[in-house]
């Protein structure tokens, strides 16, 4: 019974939301309208009672219609004069009273309308209504972005460049104003709303069938958790990406479905260690996730094997230390507090901004220093002091405030942690191209030799600029030979990548990933057997992309390129060639 009534009240509230503005106007206008009706009818009634005379001296009183007409133009201050006959003193007396009465009533009514238009609650109700309407009418897949902060804005920009649609909510009005000012190609509807409130998420289109994902990127871990919970309970089918820097929150998020958790500190640690342990893999991934046409960057400056000094043992310092230890890199931690440090760490108690403390860390024998406190000023001063001790140190800094970016930039650091940028790039890569993301995740686990080999293949086939990346879905519905070839179980990838003009030539492309239902094969080689329904992620020149599309789409080209049969396109030629 109680459940029934809650669902009813929810529904009623939902209906109410859509027409709030109208009801607000009606309710507020009640008193002014009543005053207007009363004064008006009183004036009209009184006017019909006042004795007057016609020009020939006969007694005359106005009838209801004349009096209504006269009052209408008098009250609205139009004033056509005394009709149909000049008024008697009694009528004029009554008109004088009426003028003041009705003009005040009009002024009150108009004032009430104007006050209502300027009313904050009314404006909010109107904009909420507009937002609801816009979201309801979206007819293409969109992502629901909760939290339009620094990271949200960066992400929105890159998704917009990929022509993806977004709906954003944020608790801060100034951020929504910023959203409206930002010039996106697509319209990005935004509204002030708290992600903790399921109603707000529903209004932002959580239940809309075109909603294709939820991104919880607020600064508030609790809020992101609430968004993950709401999405998992109301739309369990949707992929959710959530940002958090807390491991306990991340564990609680994992209790609800399977959200992808973005932890900027973890990401940075992973990237940094990839740079250190497998620089070529890092290069490969950076290259493929950068914009098309970009040159392959030279090998990054890496610190090499040796001791790291981590200053500050907050959330980031702790993660970095753990990551370093996992790769058996010795670490010295400088922290004023007496934390329980993991095994194998040299602890130096003290404030790292103090020159004496840094001197004790024996920087001359270290290879890298991480300024990891949550205070930008401390981080900057540590780096300058450390450079004086050992100019060759690999420098890593955590930048907390976006406004300090120019200062960190001026120091020419080897790696700077900017959480918002990391989050935005990671999320954009993940939802921008899911196959590429699978490749990246797989590649991170491969060793450097594998990456070097793949880089060499890519450079050989596609040149130094970042190749085009595209997907092919092998279903063969439009191409019967392809379908039977896939069904035979003997179709090899190498045959598919032949040039349809000259089958002895290979197309200038490299298969990066083969996805078959839930499995994926990283950089499949030419002997890989293809099946029906496979998806391929390919990197290559645009010519190769066009040629492969032709091979897959045109039966004759397919027969030639893959099987080596020259097939005529006319019926006569085909019949003849079948005879021979």
């Amino acid at each position: 019974m109680s459940q029934h009534s809650t669902s009813l009240s929810l529904q009623a509230e939902d209906n109410a939301q859509s027409s709030t503005a109208v009801f607000l106007v009606l309710r507020r206008m009640r008193a002014p309208l009543l005053v207007l009706i009363l004064t008006f009818s009183l004036s009209v009634f009184g006017m019909t009672l006042m004795p007057g005379r016609t020009p020939d001296g006969k007694p005359w009183t106005m009838d209801v219609f004349d009096s209504f007409y006269f009052m209408s133009y008098t009250a609205s201050t139009i004033g056509y004069g005394e009709i149909p006959y000049p008024f008697s003193p009694a009528q004029r007396l009554w008109v004088t009273i009426c003028i003041y009465l009705t003009v005040i009533a009009w002024a009150y009514a108009i004032g009430a309308v104007l006050a209502l238009l300027g009313d904050k609650g009314f404006k909010t109700a109107l904009s909420a209504q507009r937002f609801t309407r816009v979201v309801r009418h979206i007819r293409e897949p969109f992502q629901l972005l909760v939290g339009f902060g620094q990271a949200g804005e960066l992400l929105a920009r890159s998704l917009d460049d990929m022509d993806r649609r977004l709906v954003a909510i944020d608790t801060d009005q100034s951020r929504i104003d910023a959203l409206e000012l930002a010039s996106f190609h697509n319209d990005v509807p935004g509204h002030v709303g708290d992600g903790r409130n399921p109603e707000e998420l529903i209004r932002a289109g959580l239940l809309n069938p075109y909603c294709s994902g939820v991104l919880a990127l607020t600064n508030d871990d609790e809020c992101n958790l609430a968004v993950v919970m709401t999405a998992a309970l109301l739309r369990p089918d949707l992929p959710v990406v959530a940002r958090t820097t807390s491991r306990s929150i991340a564990a609680r998020m994992r209790d609800f479905g399977d959200p992808r958790i973005i932890d900027p500190f973890d990401l940075f640690g992973d990237e940094l260690l990839l740079d250190v342990t497998a620089p070529d893999t890092a290069r490969l991934i950076n290259w493929l996730t950068s914009p098309a046409g970009k040159h392959l960057t030279p090998l990054p400056h890496t610190p090499g094997r040796g001791r790291w000094v981590v200053c500050g043992y907050g959330r980031f310092g702790r993660r970095l230390t753990e990551d370093l230890l996992r790769h058996h890199i010795p670490v010295t931690v400088i922290t004023p507090t007496d934390d329980d440090l993991p095994e194998g760490v040299t602890h130096l108690r003290g404030d790292a901004t103090h020159p004496d403390v840094l001197r004790h860390a024996d920087l001359a024998t270290a290879v890298a220093l991480a300024a990891a406190t949550d205070n930008d000023t401390s981080n900057l001063s540590m780096i300058v002091a450390a450079r004086r001790e050992n100019a060759g140190l690999f420098m890593v800094a955590r930048q907390n405030q976006p406004v300090n970016a120019p200062l960190f930039h001026a120091l020419h650091l080897d790696a700077t942690l900017v959480p918002t940028q990391l989050v935005a790039r990671e999320v954009a890569a993940r939802i921008g191209d899911p196959l590429l993301w699978r490749f990246v995740e797989g590649a991170r686990r491969e060793d450097d030799a594998w990456s070097q080999h793949l880089l060499a293949r890519l450079e050989h086939d596609c040149g130094e600029n970042r190749p085009n990346l595209w997907q092919e879905h092998l279903d063969g519905t439009d191409n019967p030979p392809l379908a039977s070839w896939l069904a035979s179980g003997e179709g090899r990838l190498g045959d598919l990548l032949r040039d349809p003009d000259d089958r002895d030539e290979r197309l200038h492309c490299v298969a990066l990933l083969l996805k078959r239902s839930d499995q994926s094969v990283l950089a499949p080689d030419d002997d890989e057997v293809l099946r029906h329904g496979d998806r391929l992620l390919l990197a290559g020149t645009s010519d190769a992309q066009r040629d492969l599309d032709n091979t897959l789409g045109v039966a004759q080209l397919f027969e030639y390129a893959v099987r080596g049969h020259r097939v005529g396109s006319s019926w006569v030629w085909r019949t003849l060639s079948r005879r021979s």
């Binding site: 009606l26 009640r30 009706i37 009363l38 009818s41 009634f45 009838d63 209801v64 219609f65």
Partner: protein, 128 residues
């Protein structure tokens, strides 16, 4: 006792009674239908419409609809009367008056529905 309910009930009933007062009498005899009663009915009906503004319940919506119907009928009746009484050189005839009165009769029906709704609402109100 809720003053708002008193005022509301008062006007709803007054609208119906004024309407009825104008309506009663031989339909084609102008002298039996006082025009001030029609004017009063129009004004009170408009007041009732405004009083019903902003009520979001289902009952409130039907209340508003009935009053809108009644006001519309009465305003048309008043307009028809004003036309025949002032603009027509023949003055108001029995046939003209009967169309005015029948329009107000339609409004009376809507007003009765309004009163019935009021009674139902009151009867279904449970004291807790």
């Amino acid at each position: 006792m809720n003053l708002e309910k008193v005022v509301f009930g008062f006007f709803v009933l007054l609208a119906a009674t004024l309407n009825f007062g104008f309506f009663i009498g031989d339909i084609d005899r102008p002298e039996l239908h006082n025009i001030y009663e029609l004017m009063g009915a129009v004004v009170v009906n408009l007041i009732v419409v405004v009083l019903k503004f902003g009520d979001r319940t289902q009952m409130g919506a039907i209340h508003l609809a009935t009053s809108l119907v009644a006001s519309l009928q009465l305003i048309i009746a008043a307009a028809v009367w004003a036309y025949y009484n002032n603009a027509d050189p023949m003055g108001i005839s029995g046939a003209d008056m009967s169309s005015v009165v029948s329009l107000s009769g339609g409004a009376l029906f809507a007003n009765i529905v309004s009163v019935v709704l009021l009674v139902i609402e009151t009867a279904s109100f449970r004291r807790t």
